[in-house]
């Protein structure tokens, strides 16, 4: 895709801002990695070799029977018995005494004197998922050690795994909500600004009324009726967040609708919606981009505070807000607070730096350097 000269100049300006540029690289790296969180932190092995056959637990369902066990239920990969079955190619002894079976297999390559077909498993870097409850042998939350690098929370779940998934969830949530609120907000602002008059007047009053609705109460009420989930929360945040951009976009459209080239397009018989998209919207984008960082960081903070208050996602979901709440409730476990703080600080700082650079790059007064 070829960039127009204007956009090329903007890209050059953005790259010239080193802090923003490196923040973008770093953030893309972290977010890109977190998109593959299942490969980094998971309680299933990535790849299993059993009796010379490759198995893919991430994408396929396997029951314990497939590995010589007794149950038709899903494999619990972290059990010593299951691990022993895979390593020994399904030796019976594993079900009774996995430790002894493994020791014999290690030593002689046989179990109970029978030669085995050795198997193996490749585990992700962090062998816990966000909802894996770990067998600690001590009261949770446990301090960081070489098994749980950032410790565990008060239900013995690995904090690092939760942070990775929680980061992905927060950023994805913020991006989706920002996208939907901007699309709705830009459309509403465009219609009001472009047509003006009575539409504008009525719409503005509607927005004033809408803006004075206490959204937190509505969310609490809705959460009491339906069990909260990701998409319901996206809808709720969109419903109350779309007004954020209406003001700027409306102002830009009010200004641009009397531009001579808009009038020219009208004289050519170009339909209104095409004029809005082709001629007016590009002008409104600069002002919109200035507002976007506030929307994104606001959405992340909004999700975190809802989770903190307990009105957000269900508590099994990997949520940074819930981590913060646990940190508050477990002051004797400072790793929770430090993790939550640094995750938020790094995530929000990177986003702010990036959008600061974007805003400067779009600033027409800085464009002509």
């Amino acid at each position: 895709m070829a960039l127009s000269p204007l956009n090329q100049r903007r890209w050059r300006n953005f790259r010239a801002n080193r802090r923003a540029y490196w923040s973008l690289l770093l953030f893309s790296l972290i977010f890109g990695l977190s998109l593959f969180a299942e490969l980094i932190a998971n309680d299933k092995p990535l790849l299993v070799s059993f009796r010379g056959e490759l198995k893919y637990p991430l994408t396929r369902f396997y029951s314990e029977r497939d590995f010589g066990g007794d149950f038709q239920t899903a494999v619990s990969w972290r059990d010593a018995e299951v691990q022993c079955l895979i390593r020994t190619g399904g030796a019976e002894l594993c079900l009774d005494d996995p430790t002894a079976a493994l020791a014999e297999a290690e030593a002689s390559g046989t179990v109970e004197g029978v030669k085995i077909e050795p198997g193996w498993m490749i585990w992700p870097l962090i062998p816990f998922s966000y909802n894996t409850i770990s067998d600690l042998g001590e009261p949770a939350p446990s301090a960081p050690d070489n098994r749980h690098w950032l410790g565990t929370d008060n239900t013995a779940r690995d904090v690092l795994a939760r942070v990775i998934y929680g980061f992905r969830l927060s950023v994805a949530f913020a991006l989706i909500v920002t996208l939907t609120t901007s699309v709705i907000g830009i459309a509403a602002g465009a219609v009001q600004g472009y047509f003006g008059g009575a539409i504008d007047l009525i719409f503005q009053r509607v927005i004033e009324l809408w803006g004075s609705v206490p959204s937190l109460y509505i969310i609490i009420i809705v959460a009491a009726i339906w069990p909260m989930n990701f998409w319901l929360l996206v809808i709720l945040m969109t419903v109350f967040g779309w007004t954020a951009l209406v003001g700027v976009v409306r102002a830009e459209f009010l200004r641009a609708r009397n531009f001579e080239y808009v009038r020219a397009a009208r004289a050519l018989g170009v339909p209104d919606r095409v004029i809005m998209f082709r001629h007016v919207l590009p002008n409104a984008m600069v002002a919109t981009l200035t507002m976007l960082p506030f929307v994104i960081t606001g959405t992340i903070a909004g999700l975190a505070s809802l989770d903190f208050l307990g009105f957000g996602l269900p508590s099994s979901a990997p949520s940074l807000g819930e981590l913060t709440l646990q940190a508050k409730q477990n002051l004797q476990a400072p790793w929770l607070a430090f993790t939550a703080f640094f995750t938020f600080a790094i995530m929000l700082s990177l986003l702010v730096f990036i959008f600061e650079g974007v805003r400067d790059a779009f600033d027409p007064r800085k464009t002509f350097r």
Partner: protein
């Protein structure tokens, strides 16, 4: 070129364009800005009608209303026999190719984010069913027609001079083979050195394509150069409308006389003896025009009747119309009665406002 028996391509009758003045919370209408107040004229096929007047007299509004960029308050506009004055914008769309506009400021009337090719082909995108290659071919033809190098097709407007930009604007207006073009001060924003180029281009195109122009300008010498007939507007009304030579040789309305007296003479001898008629005072607000003749507050030849009765546009010589009581006085009783009717109409308007 214009055959006197030819049928008019554009006929405007009683065009009124009022912009409401609202006030208060409920936006109650408290008055009107009478930007164009009861204007009638017609333009023959292949003819150029000049529309002149000082700033704010409603020339541009008139031009835009004729193309239905505004929805006129009243009046009829016929283009090629089709009444478009009351048509909805949607119904009007298929007729748009017939009538186009060239704008005053070529900097502002071209979208700075689009390439020349995209700007010129925009009307084709909307109205013509053409393949990409055909469109590009048409764009090249148009660029040739207005004297732009084909290699500039992928450049942006800011890379061009003012005259070149205006050529882009003209090429865009020509894209759909219109019959009628409103030129809204197409040369006002250009250097004097470039103005002649653009005007000559417009003349050449008229000759080649048989175009009809409504040429809005405040530059009287340029209007004299390009127009076949000239209409002089003052405060939303037409003061005088006449064939070019008759108007410049023998202006009948005091306002036209004052306007023409301001044009410098190229000959220094006659320039030194030129008598300027300096008008006193300012143009009254179109929201509150004077009773009677619009020009009565500044007219050097004002009479008591001018402050009472609105003069009608009367034919004082073949094709030469003027709205002035100086001429109604010398007319027969019939003309006087027409003036009286005008007065009654005016009172009714006063009551409405």
């Amino acid at each position: 070129m214009a055959d006197p028996t030819a049928k008019p391509l554009v006929e405007v009758r009683g065009l009124k364009m009022y912009f409401p003045i609202t006030s208060g919370l409920l936006r109650r209408k408290v008055g009107d800005v009478k930007a164009v107040d009861d204007v009638s004229f017609s333009i023959m096929q292949g003819e150029t009608l000049g529309l002149v007047g000082e700033s704010g007299c409603g020339k541009s509004t008139c031009g835009r209303a004729v193309l239905r960029l505004y929805d006129p308050t009243a009046g009829s506009i016929r283009i090629d026999g089709t009444e478009i004055g009351t048509m909805s914008q949607r119904a009007l769309r298929p007729l748009r190719p017939q009538m186009q506009m060239v704008f005053q400021d070529p900097q502002a009337s071209l979208n700075a984010r689009m390439t020349v090719a995209a700007i010129i082909s925009e009307p084709l995108d909307e109205h013509a069913q053409m393949s990409r290659a055909e469109k590009l071919q048409r764009v090249y033809e148009l660029m040739d027609a207005v004297g732009l190098n084909r290699q500039f097709a992928n450049r942006y407007p800011h890379e061009f001079s003012g005259g070149q930009r205006q050529r882009i604007g003209i090429a865009r207006a020509l894209a759909l083979n219109p019959k009628f073009i409103v030129c809204d001060e197409p040369i006002a924003a250009l250097d004097v050195s470039i103005q002649a180029q653009v005007v000559n281009l417009l003349e050449d195109l008229q000759e080649k394509l048989g175009l009809t122009y409504l040429f809005i300008s405040h530059d009287l010498s340029m209007v004299r150069h390009i127009c076949d007939r000239v209409a002089v507007m003052y405060l939303g009304r037409i003061a005088e409308i006449a064939p070019r030579d008759a108007l410049y040789a023998n202006p009948q309305h005091p306002y036209t006389q004052a306007l023409l007296s301001a044009v410098p003479e190229p000959d220094p001898v006659s320039e030194s003896t030129r008598k300027r008629i300096i008008l006193q005072g300012d143009v009254p607000s179109p929201a509150n025009p004077p009773k009677g003749c619009n020009f009565c507050t500044r007219c050097p030849k004002v009479m008591p009747v001018c402050r009472e009765i609105k003069p009608d546009l009367l034919e004082i010589a073949p094709g030469h119309f003027a709205a002035c009581h100086l001429h109604t006085q010398t007319k027969t009783v019939t003309a006087g009665r027409t003036g009286g009717t005008g007065a009654i109409e005016h009172n009714q308007q006063g009551e409405n406002a």
